[in-house]
């Protein structure tokens, strides 16, 4: 065999292996193996149907699960009579996906509240395992709606283990897939209601005890893809007569967050929104709480925490809620 032929064979066989791999991934689309993906799918199904039923201008909360487990739209509605949808789902989907899906929740005249998790501001938008599994199992249409490079990253992001798991599921489907949380706990406003302080078990408490300060809260990057995605979303909202308000995610208080690096991180987020003329409600520290207020993770409050956080938010949100009522 000549050297040239050898090089050509490598290129041809590499193309062949790529086609084989992509074909295998395509064949696995729609096979549900992940409880997490199923839970996210149920959340979006519930929240989409709530969004469709609200005809008056509404407040829509868009973020990962810090708001799902941290803000009560029910309380906001009861106190202000403003229609409210808790559109928060799972931060692991990434800011690009979360904001993309939020388009379907809102319409002109609505107000979007963004209590995005800190990781979203520094995101490089590379699809993570949560998004890859979710899209390939529950939302393959997303692949078509995205640019080719993003879609390829999602398709190639699936791990070999996951492919093997899906193949085994194809031949021997499980009786039931266990989800991390129960979608039956979502109320008619889209809030999670199963995060009761009284129901925390040893694993929840153990997990909370072991949590340490988030080291990423010191690495602000002015040029992150996450910031660009948020900017694009705000611009889309502006062009569709949708008001955007930003606020901070609820997270655990650690003294280290008062240090210069971390303070710079929080201030940078504030400046980012201010430059876009987006109001930011409160300060980051306002929504940092003691571990006793949390349910199981650093972003998930328990019911006691939810009440306190929502009340604080209401005080800050009131002037803007009047605008929504006026629009009615």
């Amino acid at each position: 065999m000549t050297y040239l032929k050898y090089c050509q064979t490598i290129i041809l066989s590499l193309s062949f292996w790529c086609i084989v791999f992509i074909s295998i991934v395509f064949l696995q689309i729609g096979i549900a193996t992940s409880g997490q993906s199923l839970w996210i799918h149920e959340l979006y199904t519930i929240k989409s149907s709530i969004a469709k039923t609200i005809e008056t201008p509404k407040l829509v909360i868009v973020s990962g699960s810090n708001a799902l487990f941290g803000i009560s739209c029910k309380m906001i509605h009861e106190e202000t009579q403003v229609s409210c949808l808790n559109g928060a789902t799972h931060a692991g989907l990434g800011v690009k996906y979360i904001l993309n899906r939020a388009h379907s929740f809102v319409k002109p005249g609505d107000t979007v509240l963004l209590p995005l998790e800190y990781a979203h501001y520094t995101s490089n938008n590379i699809p993570g395992s949560v998004l890859v599994n979710y899209v390939l199992e529950q939302d393959p249409k997303y692949l078509i709606s995205m640019d080719i490079f993003h879609s390829i990253r999602i398709m190639t992001g699936i791990s070999f283990n996951k492919i093997a798991e899906k193949i085994s599921y194809r031949f021997k489907p499980p009786k039931a897939i266990k989800t991390p949380y129960q979608s039956k706990n979502i109320n008619k406003f889209g809030d999670e209601t199963g995060n009761l302080k009284s129901e925390r078990n040893d694993k929840h408490l153990n997990n909370l005890t072991q949590l340490k300060p988030d080291r990423n809260l010191a690495n602000y990057n002015n040029n992150s893809n996450g910031l660009q995605t948020i900017k694009d979303f705000i611009s889309w909202c502006n062009s569709n007569n949708i008001k955007v308000i930003a606020t901070w995610p609820n997270t655990i208080w650690f003294d280290v967050y008062q240090e210069q690096k971390q303070q710079h991180f929080f201030q940078s987020i504030k400046y980012f929104y201010e430059e876009l003329s987006i109001p930011v409600l409160g300060e980051a520290e306002d929504f940092m709480y003691d571990k006793s207020m949390f349910y199981d993770t650093r972003y998930h409050l328990n019911d006691v925490g939810v009440r306190q956080r929502t009340q604080q938010l209401l005080d800050l949100l009131n002037p803007y809620l009047k605008d929504i009522n006026n629009y009615k």
């Binding site: 050297y3 050898y6 066989s13 590499l14 062949f16 699960s65 949560v130 890859v132």
Partner: protein, 364 residues
């Protein structure tokens, strides 16, 4: 380029001056792409994955957590393999890319873990750095020309500075000093045997086996200092390797070994720090050790195509290889093209794997 091979201008300038270098050569491309893909595979699949067993042990040690016997050895061996596949993988990638463009670089790794003495190890590990240290430090210091004591001192100085070359820290200095000491002991041992009338060239399998085992253990201990974040962490791991931190065994053995608790044997699982299935470690570490010890290296596998500049150095160790390895040496063929393309696909796939999300919610 920082990782090596370290190239001397006299080795590459004639190649740059040769006009034929600038013409496309299918042999260079075929050999280069094969070496490059092997290097990439070693780095991404072997080194990056075995690191998962080394990093937790060294991180824990830096926080004062004492790894027990099994875990200390797993951490040290995993790092030994990680470093070799990482470093030699990078070198292969550099050699492969250069070869694609018609440039031959010098050999940098020649199966160092097959070494049967510490001198032999330094003739096989990061060869271009060893040569650099020899030519620009050891020989100008006087080498072995000024008697045994000066030779030993020169060795120690050279290795201490070689340690510093890797990083400004006491762990690197200690590592260099340790290897300097190993080399001095090795030279003294050889001198003693010569005085006793032993023929150093006439060795049997037992001598070679003992030399190989001793060298490998000495190198592994050296790597603990090379990798540890500080001297305290390194000594904690070495203590663990000796057994001074006790032994942790599988929980299934807890009932049976209760009587051994006084001997510091605790049923906390085989790998309480790494927190992985012992079977994964049992499979992966020996698999990589077998590759490092018993398979030909890239240069040997491709020797018919002069993959590196000082090809003769690589050729010598071919005598270690059996008829089987000689028959499967690389030649351009459909089978190898398929294998190389599969390796490239696996590596690309691993590089493109979705990162694990920090927001993973499990069933509580």
């Amino acid at each position: 380029m920082i990782a090596g091979p370290i190239v001397h201008h006299k080795e590459v300038m004639p190649q740059f001056e040769d006009k034929s270098t600038y013409r496309f050569n299918p042999e260079n491309m075929a050999v280069g792409i094969t070496i490059f893909s092997l290097g990439l595979f070693k780095k991404v699949i072997f080194a990056d994955n075995i690191a998962a067993y080394a990093t937790p042990v060294f991180t824990a040690a830096s926080k004062g957590i004492e790894p027990t016997l099994v875990e200390a050895w797993v951490g040290a061996l995993a790092y030994t393999l990680q470093l070799y596949f990482d470093f030699s993988g990078y070198s292969d990638m550099a050699i492969g890319i250069a070869r694609m463009f018609g440039i031959k670089l010098p050999i940098n790794f020649n199966s160092p873990y097959k070494a049967i003495s510490i001198s032999d190890f330094w003739r096989r590990w990061h060869i271009t750095l060893s040569n650099f240290l020899r030519d620009y430090l050891y020989i100008p210091l006087g080498g072995s020309r000024k008697g045994e004591i000066r030779r030993n001192l020169n060795l120690l100085i050279t290795m201490l500075l070689g340690g510093l070359w890797h990083g400004a820290g006491w762990t690197f200095v200690f590592w260099g000093g340790l290897h300097g000491t190993y080399l001095i002991i090795n030279h003294q041992w050889r001198s003693l045997r010569k005085r006793l009338g032993h023929d150093l060239k006439n060795t049997n399998w037992f001598d070679r086996g003992c030399g190989w085992l001793l060298t490998f253990i000495a190198v592994v201990i050296g790597w603990v200092f090379f990798r540890a974040e500080n001297m305290g962490a390194a000594f904690v791991i070495v203590k663990g390797m000796i057994g001074f931190n006790g032994i942790s065994v599988g929980e299934a053995l807890s009932g049976k070994l209760g009587f051994l608790q006084n001997l510091n044997i605790q049923p906390n699982g085989w790998l309480p720090i790494i927190a992985t299935k012992p079977t994964d470690v049992i499979l992966f570490i020996p698999f990589l050790l077998i590759i490092a010890w018993f398979t030909p290296n890239t240069q040997e596998w491709m020797e018919r195509h002069n993959p590196v500049l000082n090809h003769n150095v690589a050729n010598k160790s071919l005598t270690d290889n059996t008829y089987f390895w000689k028959t499967i040496r690389w030649e351009p063929s459909n089978v190898y093209a398929l294998i190389v393309s599969a390796l490239i696909l696996i590596v690309l796939k691993m590089i493109l794997d979705a990162p694990e999300s920090e927001f993973l919610y499990f069933n509580f």
